[in-house]
């Protein structure tokens, strides 16, 4: 296994910058998830690391080798594709053996390694079958087997779970995580599902529009999103964002809504709000930090219930604060009905403030 280093990596298609100055350091044995909506450049980045498309600028190192101009076969990596890309005319055993044959290993060693990988993945009984005779989950295992059969420097995975049904996806997610822990493998994992990234990765790289937005441990990304895009992308349901106007009154700052309500900020938050480049400030709050009252409470702002979504152990409610919607979570036994007037209380120690003009998080450091 080896570390992977991307330095100012650029990929352009004509005037379009698909990957725009991305720098990432993936430590040896680390599991890094590249996340973002479709078209954000995450798969392009992965293909650049794999060498499947030529790089336009910057450097990529695998281990201590500069691999910019190396063929995929010389980069010593393994890749798992979204559609598995199993060779349809070969049996499972031959699929697993292919990377070893390409490296001209002796026959007995190939047989031993294939048997070993099949045992680890519990697919020994499938070895003589063709890929089309397998279920989605089994195909997924074979694809994984073909990747790990030859002990590469890094594993690249391109949405490997997104073709599986929901239940199998959760199961394979744990298996992948376990597999990473056991092998101490360097993994770069592309997904559009932030939940996969949060649950599996040591670090997540959030991308949008070809630009790396934030690269941190999932907990850190969750707790301190660097900008509004990251805030709204990570977490389910997404963080509620309410655009407001800051109005100063001495040391204090009030956030005023165009809909007639306002919120007095705590001294710490007031200092943050004063750093905004314009009066436009966006208030962000996760559903679990909001409290809902059925009668007016000092500091709480008035709203009206829009939708109630019971999920079993938690009930989510969408509430209109004027024209903005916020999502709150409630205990399932709380009786709440659409169109009911409620008061929403923000926890000032856990709210996020963003500069409405630059969309960047407002912090004190």
């Amino acid at each position: 296994m080896a570390e992977v280093l991307l330095r100012d990596v650029v990929k352009t298609y004509g005037p379009f910058r698909a990957v725009d100055n991305v720098s990432l350091k993936i430590e040896d044995g680390e599991f890094v998830a590249l996340v973002g909506p479709s078209g954000c450049g995450k798969t392009t980045t992965l293909n650049l690391v794999a060498g499947l498309i030529p790089i336009s600028g910057g450097d990529i190192y695998i281990g201590d080798r500069l691999v910019n101009d190396l063929d995929p076969k010389d980069r010593d990596i393994a890749m798992v594709f979204q559609n598995y890309a199993l060779y349809p005319n070969k049996t499972v055993a031959k699929n697993l053996a292919f990377p070893l044959q390409m490296r001209k290993l002796p026959r007995e060693e190939i047989e031993r390694k294939v048997a070993e990988a099949a045992k680890v993945l519990d697919i020994t009984h499938l070895l003589e079958r063709k890929p089309r005779e397998l279920s989605g989950g089994q195909q997924q295992r074979v694809a994984l087997g073909r990747a790990l059969v030859r002990d590469p420097r890094a594993f690249l995975m391109d949405e490997p779970l997104s073709n599986l049904d929901a239940k199998l996806r959760v199961q394979m997610r744990s298996e992948l995580k376990r597999f990473h822990q056991d092998l101490e493998a360097t993994v770069i994992y592309v997904t559009h599902d932030q939940l996969e990234a949060v649950t599996m990765a040591d670090k997540m790289a959030v991308m949008s529009g070809g630009v790396l937005q934030q690269y941190d441990a999932p907990a850190e990304v969750f707790a301190r999103p660097r900008n509004m895009f990251v805030a709204s992308f990570v977490g389910s349901p997404a963080m509620s964002l309410v655009p407001l106007e800051a109005a100063g009154s001495g040391d204090g700052v009030r956030l005023v809504s165009g809909d007639g309500w306002s919120l007095e900020l705590s001294p710490e938050n007031a200092r943050k709000a004063k750093r905004a480049s314009s009066p436009s400030v966006v208030l962000g709050a996760r559903h679990s930090t909001l409290r809902v009252h059925k009668s007016a409470v000092p500091g709480a702002v008035p709203g009206k219930v829009y939708i109630v979504e019971p999920t079993g152990d938690i009930t989510f409610a969408q509430i209109y604060l004027g024209k903005s919607i916020v999502v709150v979570s409630l205990e399932p036994h709380v009786a709440i009905a659409p169109d009911e007037p409620v008061w929403v209380e923000f926890d000032q120690t856990r709210i996020h403030l963003f500069d409405g003009a630059t969309q960047q998080a407002l912090t004190l450091d």
């Binding site: 063929d71 890749m79 979204q82 390409m102």
Partner: protein
């Protein structure tokens, strides 16, 4: 009640159309098959029986004499016929092999690579097929004269390639479009060069397409008449369609002989088509629908 009644009427209407369709298909089949049946029947009649009127529907004294004469290299007729047959096989085989050798990489390139001029080149290969063959008869003849190829099999090989290749490329491109590029990417990551990935992974998967394309180009060359009759003069160079035409004029009275020759000429085409029609149909429909 009324709804049920409407249903019944609707049902009868659909049935009516279905029967009309069946009858149409039946008539069409008879129209297509009858001449062939007649050809085979006539070829095993005696010469006298073939000219009888009213016709002898079923041969009373079936004989394979015509076939043995045609396929007998020691007789004059047999030598001539086998010569035509050999010329046809030679021209069509060379055309087919060259066609596949060129069409496979060309179609693969059109399917996989983005290069300047790709779109217009792709349509340009079809340009040749938008005009009737006769339009190119004189230009190609003059060209062949410059190349000193008139009256050789190579003039036909080159000509057949000009219209066989574009269609082969189109047919094969549809096939390659349906092979996910991830398979080659996987192979390249697994340690294959681009060329090896093509040979080891893509070629086996596209073999039905290649087979279909080969048959297709063989059949159109096998049946071609206009160019063959223009480019070839020497009797010993003629291909079967032209040779058969000479039979018509030389042996007008020997209908069973002509029919036997026609039947032998159709055998390779029919056999190939029957054995490989599975691939053929797949090649023509694959690429039409995204899976």
């Amino acid at each position: 009640m009324s709804a049920a009644g409407a249903d019944a009427v609707g049902g009868r209407k659909v049935d009516g159309w279905r029967w009309a369709g069946r009858i149409f298909i039946l008539l069409l089949s008879i129209f297509a098959v009858l001449p062939m049946v007649w050809m085979v029947l006539t070829s095993i009649k005696t010469q006298f029986a073939a000219l009888q009127y009213p016709p002898e529907w079923w041969p009373k004294n079936p004989t394979l004499d015509q076939y043995t004469t045609l396929l007998n290299p020691t007789s004059d007729v047999g030598r001539e016929f086998l010569g035509y047959l050999w010329n046809s096989i030679w021209v069509c085989t060379v055309t087919t092999i060259l066609g596949v050798v060129v069409a496979v990489p060309a179609a693969y390139a059109f399917s996989r690579f983005r290069f300047p001029g790709r779109a217009w080149m792709f349509y340009a290969v079809l340009l040749r097929n938008m005009f009737p063959a006769v339009v190119f008869l004189m230009p190609l003849f003059i060209l062949m004269r410059y190349l000193h190829l008139v009256n050789t099999g190579w003039s036909l090989v080159l000509t057949y390639l000009t219209f066989g290749l574009p269609l082969s490329i189109w047919l094969l491109k549809g096939f390659y479009d349906n092979i996910p590029p991830q398979l080659e990417q996987a192979a390249r990551i697994d340690g294959a060069t681009r060329f090896k990935a093509f040979i080891l992974i893509v070629m086996p998967l596209s073999s039905p397409g290649i087979i279909a394309t080969a048959i297709y180009s063989f059949i159109i060359s096998w049946n071609e008449y206009v160019y063959a009759v223009t480019f070839l003069n020497d009797q010993d160079k003629l291909t079967l369609p032209v040779g058969l035409q000479r039979f018509f004029t030389e042996y007008t009275t020997n209908w069973p002989g002509l029919m036997a020759a026609s039947f032998i000429m159709s055998v390779p085409v029919v056999v190939m088509f029957l054995i490989l029609q599975k691939y053929f149909v797949r090649a023509l429909t694959e690429g039409a629908v995204k899976h």
